[in-house]
């Protein structure tokens, strides 16, 4: 219940500034533009499928998730409101998780704004909704993992731009690390590790309609580790 209070506050605070609306609008517009315009993939593929729509999600999240999460702690640290926040009757862990749930909900709203795409495809052909549901679930979890990382990074700086850049770089690494597996002279264990750590690789099966519990477990795992790290960073004042 306490978590929900913090999450609600964070969620509504986000839409108190114009940035919230701009980020959400930008996300939906970018997602649609990449799907309908880039390479004319959708119309030339000529299938009632959102496969290519979700194929862009890992990279989009790498850009948008840091933008959503950059202010979570950086702004509080910059303005000094974090000290007041600490005096509230919540533990640091609750604050971290609550704020994370708030930004996750913001992302869910942004993702909800892309629902026009499946509705359009359904109107144009016989869309199989199973893969769409699986891909939306996968996107939500992948974004959750990305947001948790970005929340943690936001707690390490007082500058939102730095937090965004840092977050985007880390998420890009998490999305491209699978390329290591294709490199020559990379030992097998390292190749396998790189594939297992890659966020987009875990999303592949879900983007085609298969929900893989191990991938969901991976995303939850990343969230847990990032949120624990976030809590620890805030607990030890020296990392601020």
């Amino acid at each position: 219940m306490r978590l929900l209070v913090i999450a609600r506050r964070e969620f509504f605070a986000y839409f108190e500034s114009i940035i919230g609306y701009v980020v959400v609008a930008l996300f939906s517009a970018l997602a649609a533009a990449l799907f309908f315009l880039v390479g004319d993939v959708f119309f030339s593929y000529n299938q009632a499928s959102l496969r290519h729509f979700f194929a862009n999600m890992p990279m989009l999240i790498a850009v948008i998730a840091p933008a959503i999460a950059m202010r979570v702690w950086a702004e509080e640290l910059r303005s000094g409101t974090v000290e007041r926040l600490m005096t509230l009757p919540f533990s640091i862990g609750q604050l971290v998780v609550g704020k994370f749930l708030g930004v996750w909900a913001v992302f869910a709203v942004a993702l909800g704004c892309t629902l026009l795409a499946p509705i359009t495809v359904e109107m144009l052909g016989d869309l199989d909704w199973g893969p769409v549901i699986a891909a939306y679930v996968g996107t939500l979890f992948m974004a959750g993992a990305g947001l948790a990382i970005c929340c943690f990074l936001s707690a390490t700086t007082t500058n939102q731009i730095v937090a965004w850049m840092f977050g985007a770089c880390v998420l890009l690494v998490f999305n491209l690390i699978h390329l290591l597996a294709t490199a020559v002279f990379v030992p097998r264990w390292l190749a396998e590790l790189s594939l297992n750590l890659d966020m987009s690789q875990h999303f592949n099966a879900m983007s085609r309609g298969v929900i893989d519990l191990s991938s969901i477990g991976f995303y939850i795992g990343v969230m847990v580790v990032a949120l624990v790290a976030n809590t620890l960073v805030l607990s030890s004042g020296r990392f601020r």
């Binding site: 119309f43 199989d128 929900i211 519990l213 020296r238």
Partner: protein, 559 residues
């Protein structure tokens, strides 16, 4: 130890602990293969037989996909190719460390090109789509499986048959040998192979193409009834009795015992031989009539004439053209060439569910209404409901006059009806206590060399399906129709053409109509794209603007 060092140590310890916990959780989830396939057709759910085959791997399986990436001009192939890659990815995921998948492009990689040639994977030639040119594009879509010292190849793999083709080959690789099917006929045996001399195939071996088609996955054992020797039924997974003629009683007893023991038999039955070139008929006494009647199966002596039939060249005619008189072939439907498709194929049964069509020549109707209590019949293929039975001694000539004559005869012979052409009889045969399966096919020409010589002939797939099912590989066969369902988008251009009354005889008008239709379709596509990009964005920004205006108003009121 200072306070800060203690904090740092605690931080590191907690991080390490949480990371270890998460890694253990993810590793545990990875060991349990829990995946939920939400696609409507369960496209990515591998069959239990494939899963159990992969579980039986005790060595590394290397899968090499020969796949050219550049298929510009043939984008219609993309959905199938994507599905193929997805299925391979599912198999790789299921196999874990034991399966590795490598994709190579023989059009861009010389080594891959040589490898493809070496293993027998060749490119399919596609006609180029460039207007005004005759370019031919190459399409590689072959698969090579390597396991221990053996390898199997699928020269051209299609997504809809992928899992079946893959599993059958994997099964062969693991087992080290193919299952055996017996082919019983009164054809002469092959002469022994002499080193350095090509083997001559005797002319009477009219089921050689069937043997070749089945030979890809089965060892076909020739059981010639012309020999006096005892026939070896040991180890047979199924038996084909092809065009029996004066069937010796002792072999009939063997078949009865085979069925009673719970085995499977495919009977390709004909009451006459038709010589394909002269169309001369020779009456056949199968020697199986009384046994079939005894179990309640009656194969009509009369021939099925169907309005849904194969189109043949029925002569030619001279026509006057601007460049002079020309001879053009005359095409006509040949009623004795029954073309079974759509409602003629039993969509409930695994053998016929994924089939597109089956073509028959001079087929006979099968009646199973008098079947004994212990047996049950399922019609697999029927004629259309516009079919008649004509006397067996009808003229078979493929001339326009005879075709017309046959049509008149058929229409005058009474009300049309649907006739079963292939029926499955299953149950307890004789005194047996195991369920045997007998498929009676009222035509043997559907598997004749002349019919099966084209690799694309759908009867080949029917033959494979029949034997796969009869050989108890029925769990694999359900996977064949995978991915056949396409979900095309609304065709704006076609709708535009329809709304303008369709194409006419005027070529210029048609060209203009096509041009307008394409332009209209592009406009519609641009409109859809713009709506999807700008509508949610404007709505969100509108909501933001509304919120800020309301806040400003409220602030003013408070002031």
């Amino acid at each position: 130890m200072t306070h800060s060092a203690q904090t740092l140590r605690g931080f590191a310890l907690k991080m390490l602990l949480s990371t270890v916990l998460v890694v253990v959780l993810v590793a545990l989830l990875n060991t349990f293969y829990v995946r939920y396939d939400l696609t409507a057709a369960k496209q990515y759910s591998l069959s239990s037989s494939t899963q159990s085959l992969i579980a039986r791997l005790d060595d590394r399986l290397q899968v090499k996909l020969y796949f050219n990436q550049d298929i510009r001009g043939h984008e219609y192939l993309l959905p199938e190719r994507l599905l193929l890659l997805d299925l391979l990815s599912e198999i790789e995921h299921l196999g874990g460390d034991l399966i590795s998948v490598e994709t190579v492009d023989p059009t861009a990689d010389l080594v891959a090109s040589r490898d493809a040639e070496h293993v027998g994977i060749t490119a399919v030639q596609l006609e180029g789509q460039d207007v005004g040119s005759l370019s031919i594009d190459l399409l590689y879509q072959g698969l090579e499986l390597r396991y221990q010292d053996s390898s199997e190849v699928i020269p051209f793999v299609r997504a809809d048959e992928f899992e079946f083709a893959f599993s059958v080959r994997l099964s062969a690789l693991i087992a080290g040998e193919k299952p055996t099917v017996g082919l019983m006929s009164n054809e002469s045996l092959l002469p022994p192979q002499m080193p350095g001399i090509p083997r001559q195939i005797p002319e009477d071996r009219v089921f050689e193409q069937l043997r070749n088609a089945l030979g890809e996955r089965y060892t076909v054992r020739d059981l010639s009834t012309t020999q006096q020797a005892e026939l070896d039924f040991d180890g047979l997974s199924a038996l084909i009795v092809a065009r029996p003629h004066q069937f010796p009683a002792k072999y009939l007893e063997s078949i009865k015992d085979f069925l009673a023991a719970g085995n499977s038999v495919l009977l390709l039955y004909d009451s006459e031989f038709v010589e394909p070139n002269s169309l001369q008929q020779v009456a056949v006494v199968t020697g199986l009539e009384s046994w079939l009647n005894e179990i309640g199966v009656n194969v009509s002596k009369r021939l099925v004439y169907d309005t849904r039939s194969i189109t043949i060249q029925a002569g030619s005619q001279q026509i006057e053209t601007p460049s002079g008189m020309q001879t053009v072939p005359l095409q006509a439907p040949y009623g004795f060439g029954v073309f079974a498709e759509n409602d003629s194929l039993n969509t409930e049964h695994q053998i016929t569910t994924g089939l597109g069509s089956v073509a028959f020549f001079w087929a006979h109707a099968i009646d199973t209404t008098a079947l004994s209590n212990k047996l049950r019949a399922t019609d697999l293929v029927t004629s259309s409901d516009q079919a008649w039975l004509l006397p067996a001694d009808s003229q078979l000539a493929m001339s326009t006059s005879n075709i017309r004559e046959l049509q008149i005869k058929a229409f005058a012979s009474g009300e049309p009806q649907r006739y079963p052409l292939v029926s499955l009889v299953s149950g307890l045969f004789g005194d047996g206590d195991e369920t045997g399966r007998l498929v009676v096919c009222g035509d043997s020409d559907l598997f004749h060399n002349l019919t099966l010589q084209s690799p694309e002939n759908p009867n080949r797939e029917f033959a494979s399906n029949l034997i796969d099912w009869l050989s108890n590989d029925s769990d694999l066969i359900t996977l064949r129709s995978r991915g056949r369902r396409h979900r095309p988008l609304h065709d704006f251009a076609a709708a535009y053409i329809d709304s303008h009354g369709g194409f006419t005889d005027d070529e210029n008008e048609n060209r203009q109509l096509s041009k307008d239709a394409v332009a209209k379709a592009h406009r519609q596509q641009r409109l859809i794209s713009a709506a999807n990009i700008f509508m949610p964005m404007l709505l969100m920004l509108g909501a933001g603007a509304r919120h800020f205006i309301a806040r400003k108003r409220k602030a003013r009121l408070v002031k």
